[in-house]
Symmetry: C2
Subunit: 744 residues, 2 copies
Amino acid sequence: MQLVWLVPAAGFAGVAFALWLAWDVLRRDTGTDAMRDVASMIFEGAMAFLKRQYRTIAILAVVTGVLIAVIVGAVSEGVKDIVRSDTGQVEYGAKVIDHWKEGLLTGIAFLVGAAASALSGYIGMYISVRSNSRCASAATRSLREAITVSLRGGAVSGFLVTSLSLLGVSGIFLTYSRLLDNPPTIAPFLIVGFGFGASFVALFAQLGGGIYTKAADVGADLVGKVEAGIPEDDPRNAAVVADLVGDNVGDCAGRGADLFESMSAENIGAMILGVAIYTVTGSIEWIMFPLVLRSFGILATIVGLSSVPFFARDDGRQHPMTPLNYGYYIVSILSVIGLFIATKVMLSDVWYWFFGCGLIGIATGIAFVYITQYYTSGSWRPVKEIAKASRTGPATNIIIGTAVGYETTAATAITIGLALVGSFVLGSHADIAGVPGFSSGVFGTAVATMGMLMSAAYILAMDTFGPITDNAGGITEMAGAPASARHITDSLDTVGNTTKALTKGYAVASAGLAAFLLFSAYLDKVKERLDIPLTEGLPIDLSNVDVFVGGLLGVMLVFLFSSLAIRAVGNTASSIIEEVRRQFREDPGIMAGTSRPDYARAVDITARASLRQMIAPGLLAVGMPVAVGLIFRFTRTEDSGWLAVSGLLMIGTIGGIILATFLNNVGGAWDNAKKYIEAGLLKVPSSNPDEEEVVLGKGSDAHKAAVVGDTVGDPFKDTAGPSLHVLVKLLSTVTLVMAPLFIS
Amino acid sequence: MQLVWLVPAAGFAGVAFALWLAWDVLRRDTGTDAMRDVASMIFEGAMAFLKRQYRTIAILAVVTGVLIAVIVGAVSEGVKDIVRSDTGQVEYGAKVIDHWKEGLLTGIAFLVGAAASALSGYIGMYISVRSNSRCASAATRSLREAITVSLRGGAVSGFLVTSLSLLGVSGIFLTYSRLLDNPPTIAPFLIVGFGFGASFVALFAQLGGGIYTKAADVGADLVGKVEAGIPEDDPRNAAVVADLVGDNVGDCAGRGADLFESMSAENIGAMILGVAIYTVTGSIEWIMFPLVLRSFGILATIVGLSSVPFFARDDGRQHPMTPLNYGYYIVSILSVIGLFIATKVMLSDVWYWFFGCGLIGIATGIAFVYITQYYTSGSWRPVKEIAKASRTGPATNIIIGTAVGYETTAATAITIGLALVGSFVLGSHADIAGVPGFSSGVFGTAVATMGMLMSAAYILAMDTFGPITDNAGGITEMAGAPASARHITDSLDTVGNTTKALTKGYAVASAGLAAFLLFSAYLDKVKERLDIPLTEGLPIDLSNVDVFVGGLLGVMLVFLFSSLAIRAVGNTASSIIEEVRRQFREDPGIMAGTSRPDYARAVDITARASLRQMIAPGLLAVGMPVAVGLIFRFTRTEDSGWLAVSGLLMIGTIGGIILATFLNNVGGAWDNAKKYIEAGLLKVPSSNPDEEEVVLGKGSDAHKAAVVGDTVGDPFKDTAGPSLHVLVKLLSTVTLVMAPLFIS
């Protein structure tokens, strides 16, 4: 049990660090009265939305939790111990917990997971919307201070999410094994409910937040910039506060819940794998390893994040991304060291194979940082190509953008494929106690996932950095701060766009790596029910009609879900547009600048509409795997239920990863193609012989075309894409918990 | 061998009927001198393109054919007989043909398949571009005559494609079994090369044609309508003839090759399945059944097609789609009768199960006709929703269009899923000679596919109807024919849009149904190499890392291929735009209407550019499965090669079906949303109290937004989407032929 003490230590250290960061941010100067005024409107709007959203989610979660307890209790056969048989196989042993108790404990784990996810989202958001005016105020002084404030504000969310996930999983594991006096082998299966709870909240948080943010953004633009002809973030636009609120509820709360979910599900899946090895080797280290590795990750991130201000320079020549990159390198280097210690100490004499797997995971994380930058930043071919295509109008902008977006799936699929095969091969070399048929390859992919997720808190801090700087920009604009401050927040905003794109790439990659591990957990669950030894293969035959049709339905689910999410943005946006039009019409003083629009009403209407719109896609995601499992189970052969669900899960995951990659990257590329043109970088040969080139900048037809692409990309990259990551992981957890339903 | 005489009879009857139709069309009046003039330019352009395209394809095909002969000869172990063992299993027996001869026969079959596909495309095109001026001339007289001419012209292609596929497959089967004195069991495996040849030509024909047609369309619109401000089909636009040529080479030659391929591959796959049953039952009927059923289909279509003019009325109130629908019903009813006779006579005492499977297939075909109409025609919610979204600009038009497009995948996946499971279940009930482990379920899905494809000639006739009427419209415009003629061709053009969309839905559905059958053929090939009895299962385990990563790469291939295809249109379009601009610049007389633009040069430049652009995606499609198989075989375990290819094939097929559905349907819906607005059907409440509603028609901002959507949809629905159907089927044939390469 060496190193296991690190888990609570790192968990509480992470929370303490988050609190210190929060204190450090909150004690800072909140700027001018005008800034405070705007910030408080954003704060109130964001909190009102969260409250309303969490109320809806809480109702759904409690109902689902009770349903889970009842369903699992009614259809399960109880939890069996896992033992090593005389033939050396790992198999299921005596029943340890009866089925009603299993249902109860799973339901409780679900509610705890849901509550922990909601809590980390809430506190992170709270600090984030408190940081924006402080960042705006800091921007009136220096770039360095502005970066420090926004990164620290973002890091509160990052550390809370990772620490609460760690403490939650380890706490409930401790409770369900030690305190309830059960063998540790069964606990991971009981806490899968925790992962389901986390993904359940994550899905609705991401969907609701994603719909809100983009509906407000699109709505504010269409009614303000297009119809009324007033600039972005103009205080006369009643939707502008809703837009600023949206940045927080989408990127901060939504993405936080997404990564909370990734880490929890991946931790639990890896612990389930560890159980089989523990049964053979007798060392509980195999179960605890994922938690310890995560702990090293938190410690590495504390150091890396604290180092960022030291790299930031105020000489005006440094790109604001540079200090963030340095901090990320430090996190990566320390993660490698932590990985080395953890594998060496805990994984006995096969440690080096898994050290290699972990390195692959860390390298994959770094690779995605670069892949995403290549495809979505203005310095390389793809974005330039889209900007050039804008010269012939919006249609070619969309056509070439789509081509670029589809192209980005290649780098993603190849990188994930290499990482999976590489870590599987390395893991397979590790001969763990020579159990016949036992595959350590899957454990290798689990270690790669863990290695990648070691830097999750840092990535999340960079992600939340985005909405804080975006808000700070809006506040400087609305509060009439000096141009120099606006210049600083603008440069930070561009970086924020990049870091937001990075996080999405990171989330997709972690979903891809974790997929494999979560399937194997699902199959272990099926084996329990079918009384098949864990070390025996259970092929999911792709040429089986149920698997194939399940897969077809899985990919379809991914598309249909995206359709609902995208349409939800359109529907919500039209509610906002109508409200702003109404305010303009009924109070001409708004346009004249003599009376203030009713921001709160616009915020409230957006919140109501987006929460109404999140229900259908959310229920589709949770309900369809269950429906497919039940329909196939009862209309086809006795194995058809779980086979069709396997196909839906695995092939749906592939489809989800690819489609999410497209949606995220194409949106980022369109956004930056517009920014590329706004920066005056798009030039054409002049027809006037006196000058060589004409700049097609802001206001040109090319710019108008690029704005169309940017608007189209908004619901792709901030609503449908990120919700798809969550959907993919939710598929794993919902099928894991509901597996007994699909098996006769 | 009852009914087998029908195969040559129906094959030659189909050819004879096609010749009669051609004679009937060609003898008709070719219209005014002006019409003849335009038509001859289209004719020359189309033939020049085809000649150039076929030269390129011929070179590629000959090289590939030789490569196949060499590779199969070098790596194969020769062809083994299939026998029934003492234990009742069906397994591979003695070697009948040595490996070099196998390579040679496969290579020859490839070239014959390629040549037959090219021939049917060529002749069909020839008649199609001869029919357009005759249709234009007929339109000056009556709707009924215009429908008759265009449908008969299109049917030449339909009948040649189906008949040549039937005669080709059966002829080469006869040669390779009887004439070369081999047992019939081995022939299907030798003629898989025929299917590969057909799909090889189909891919390049569809890609080249698809790129040409949309590049010309987009280019002509951008440079004519947008830049120069002249109407569509205006004779001053040098690209207008290229646009009219494009309709033929894309929709006629491309789709013809696509369906030639579908039918051939499906026929061969079904015969391979039949071999196992023949070995057990001793009745060769099981091998010949697919050919006989196809024969009934041709006969049914001859009757159905001949009946259409009797349903057409000239009273001005009949929708032109109505007589076409009646004809389709007749084909369907006669197909059911043919299916009944064929199953009853040939499939011994289990015939009724397979009769049921065939009915499912016919019903699936009909279902797709309705699903496609619902999603792409202006009478229902989806297109109206897109038209409404155009009121707020191009961005919302694209956003809602994408949401609708993603939504359409649901109906497609569910219908294909139901048809697959339904026919599999019915087929499984058929107890064929009680072979242990033998699955007649897959044969059930094969019969469903055959049932569906019985009406292929009719569907194809309706498809080629599209470009003929489209061309006729262009000719009436350019030749200054009376408005009444233009009115008739316009109404036929709208129908043509619907029938083109139908054909694509039909092609997707047949690819989905056939997929299963073709996997099973691939697995049979793997079993031969691994010496596993045919009746033994060979699970492709989705939780195997090679299969999973293969699947990830398969879905990625589908997206990357689409990216290349879409980008190719953009690149080619810019070549045309530059050429037209050059002509306008260098000869001001063109714009003044005093001199005639150089149409031929524009046609030629488009042809060269599009053929250059088709190479990369084409080689990607053929090369990637082979590359993946080789890489996994040589860097991983001995089974990894064929396993990764299985994943790529099966999961790539799912991804391809879904993505093609999206691309086809969203394009059709955007097109018809524009037409909906042009027809004056989009209305908004008026701000003027005197009138109730304002029509947002042609020229309104909503219309401009809808034009953007239409332009974006062009390369989706006419280049990437249709090429994806072919890609999906090509994946099956290339892996089938190359299988020995992937197995150690």
